[in-house]
Subunit: 352 residues, 3 copies
């Protein structure tokens, strides 16, 4: 296991109000965006989301260029949005296409920013930065869209905490043993842990050999008491896109099928102290079992909303406005991956 | 129409937290002020309003000179107010007239500011400034008190927005066409518009010749489908006192009576981001018709509370603390009057 | 009576956000602290309170050294507290005694501050300062624990005001005459008042000779209309610990028993603008009368929660963020004691 001595970490000066803008973030799950305007604050900016008649989802600044009223208070007409206040009309590319006033001339400054928005891997990704919006820079979440192998349930949770506190949480799954009774394992001492970094991608691997399955595995069909080789491998890409490969494989002399239950944890900062947490749980068993869908959703809500969210929000509150790294937290072995992630974010922010 | 190119406007540096204090503002409608103490924050100052036994309304700082408790928590005794905390008693002129403690001597610093308050044009006007409080400086709203010609309904609405955003709204009535279905006209292309300025008074004139009446005119008795010459003329005096002359006159060959429905829109800042909006609707028809009173009140509540208020408050929120002019809004033709008003306010504030 | 001319008072520069930390404060009434974790913010710091198995109450920083989550979200195990997030375990002395991660080594920085906490005079006192925590420095409140002479009822009230506004209130009991009808006396002109200071202890004495008892005295058994010598003597010790000796003694030719009803008013700042107000009412009559307990509690709630609290909170709000002394309040005769107390606090804060 890689351990990071506190002395080498220098992220205290990170301004948690600063965001990495040259990056893809999830703006919404596809079914959240319809022909009705949807307003969402992303990286402190008001964003309007809606679909054109041909079904393509678009994202504009949710702030009319004239009096700065939210366009989301207006209505969608054909492919355009019409401001509720004075009737200015904007195309899905942000261009002002109609000024009903005076001589109808459209000042160049009337056009609005449209943000690149792509539907990929079963999610809607937005680019709010200055650099080139190359969808190839979205980390690989092909698994999210692999309906042939996996059934999935997904949702979005609002958390009153800085996104990095959630990243810390996810990159240190040792907390499950304490905070999540439903995910606890009976024999934690058999855990092996390793942190790896490749470029700016960080992995946090957990293995548990020859153990019984936890509550989630049993829910997915793994028999009570049967031993297998468990794994929980978290992959993080900056700023806050995580893929968790969780599963249990049969022992060598066992011909039972293995269970794969990957999940995606896609964090989009709303403000410096609030975050949109998009999650998706996949599974390779009971793919058509809608009752199982509901049980998995309930387990997720219990773990995230009932257990993680109150603790992370209490943590944010307990910081009383300070940056956590500036308060010199004690760093323990399982913080290795989270510390690497924070250092990568700090370097990117410092690079401007 | 006068149009104001953005480049000539230099109001970005206006501190929306600063108020013009040498000016008359409406403190209350007369029937709001009684023998019971009324507290109201005006221009960020706590003000106590009550009536003397002879019915004269007075205004004092609502902050005892001793421990700064609101006097409005106390009670009125004869013409004085008695502090609930230690019994200091103040006359309607702000003088401390009784100190029940020690030797009863009254320190000079115990006296409170009393603010000039006059009942004029059917409203109570307050002067919070340093300069001479000359009631002749109240703009002419004689129409408000003209009970011989007009029936009226009035009210006050609390808006979570800077008063200048409301001034913008009122000086650009083109928004009615988009935001107020009940006031929309069927043939907006026949609108003529003109902006005029005389000293520091700004007018925004709208005419619509030979058109049918809108919903308000029909409510006031103008027959459906009959054509006439409509007008909506807004007069603005600094800082935020507006008189709207709305009506429809019969065509030359028509002997139907015309309809006059002037209204007053009197804005008093509470704080930099909240405003007391006093409104009064008058009409020269159905003067004794209390059912019509109720319908007009309902229309006003629908337009102001149901339509304007949420949009203006969303606009304030969308500014996220910035001054709107510092964000370089696109200025369109109908902004001419509002821009003049903002420039006059900026000049007054700059002059100190 | 000692009167303090305003000119000699120089407490305007006091930062009400600064607290005297080298002092004992009440953290809780003993029965509030159990085997379940209790979180309380004291002097802007999160504090965890709980009892060891042997019943001894302890106080730790309520902020895990690892990720700063409140330990009060965790659970008590034997004499230790276990963090809910990653299972770190801390002894009642604040030492981290178990790190379940990695090699289990415990970094020195993992230990938490434990705060001296003593149970004395029927209250739990905490020391949050740097200096030596000598319980002998707790002012004498032996009367609080004197169950042989007194029955008592106690409670704690949360007040949204700086603690010094409450000290002002308590050191100037002349306000009772105006704010508390239940404590008003019929003949206030016979009041004598004196302020004394000895070291940093301030007394404010009120005597009323040969008067009838007020509502409280009658509630405690003093007959309606019988005359006696009343007293209300307040003792203040910095920063905000007050003992009030209230009672009525029979006249020389009267063999009726006297009534003693001392009370303690122990203020602990929560933040610069909020305070925990611990109160205890004692009496030497009806000591086993639980109905009387209830009536006294109701009287206290009426006076503190119903009468003092709204006025003091309105006072705090009316200051709109300013320090009261910086606003040059008029100082009257009954402010003598409160002004001395403020001067002592200012001197202590200035001394660092």
């Amino acid at each position: 296991m890689t351990s990071q001595p506190a002395a080498q970490v220098d992220t205290a000066q990170v301004d948690t109000g600063a965001f990495i803008t040259d990056a893809w973030y999830v703006a919404a799950w596809p079914d959240e965006v319809t022909r009705a305007p949807l307003r969402r604050i992303l990286l402190n900016r008001p964003v309007l989301l809606y679909r054109r008649r041909d079904g393509v989802a678009v994202a504009l600044a949710d702030r009319c260029s004239h009096r700065f009223v939210p366009l989301s208070l207006g209505h969608i007409e054909d492919d355009d949005v019409v401001c509720c206040y004075h009737g200015l009309r904007f195309g899905p590319d942000g261009r002002c296409v109609h000024n009903p006033h005076g001589d109808g001339a459209i000042p160049r400054a009337a056009h609005l920013p449209a943000y690149p928005l792509v539907e990929r891997f079963g999610a809607l990704w937005i680019w709010l930065g200055e650099g080139a919006a190359d969808p190839a820079r979205i980390p690989d979440f092909a698994i999210l869209g692999d309906r042939a192998r996996f059934a999935s349930v997904c949702g979005v949770m609002h958390v009153a905490a800085n996104y990095q506190l959630i990243t810390d949480n996810l990159l240190d799954l040792s907390h499950a043993q304490y905070l999540h009774p439903g995910l606890r394992v009976a024999d934690p001492v058999r855990l092996r842990h390793e942190t790896r970094q490749e470029g700016d991608t960080v992995w946090s691997f957990f293995w548990r050999d020859e153990g019984v399955g936890n509550g989630l595995m049993r829910l997915l069909g793994w028999p009570e008491g049967r031993r297998g080789n468990s794994r929980a491998h978290m992959r993080w890409d900056p700023p806050s896109l995580l893929l968790l490969d969780v599963g249990i494989a049969p022992l060598a002399d066992d011909d039972a099928p293995g269970i794969d239950a990957p999940s995606a944890h896609l964090l989009t900062p709303e403000t410096a102290t609030t975050t949109h947490y998009f999650w998706s749980f996949m599974r390779n068993t009971g793919r058509d079992d809608t009752a199982l869908d509901a049980r998995i959703r309930a387990l997720g809500v219990q773990a995230f909303v009932g257990e993680d969210k109150p603790v992370i929000e209490a943590q944010q509150d307990n910081l009383r406005g300070a940056d956590i790294m500036a308060m010199n937290p004690v760093l323990l072995a399982p913080d290795a991956a989270g510390t690497r992630a924070r250092r990568i974010i700090a370097a990117r922010l410092a690079a401007g």
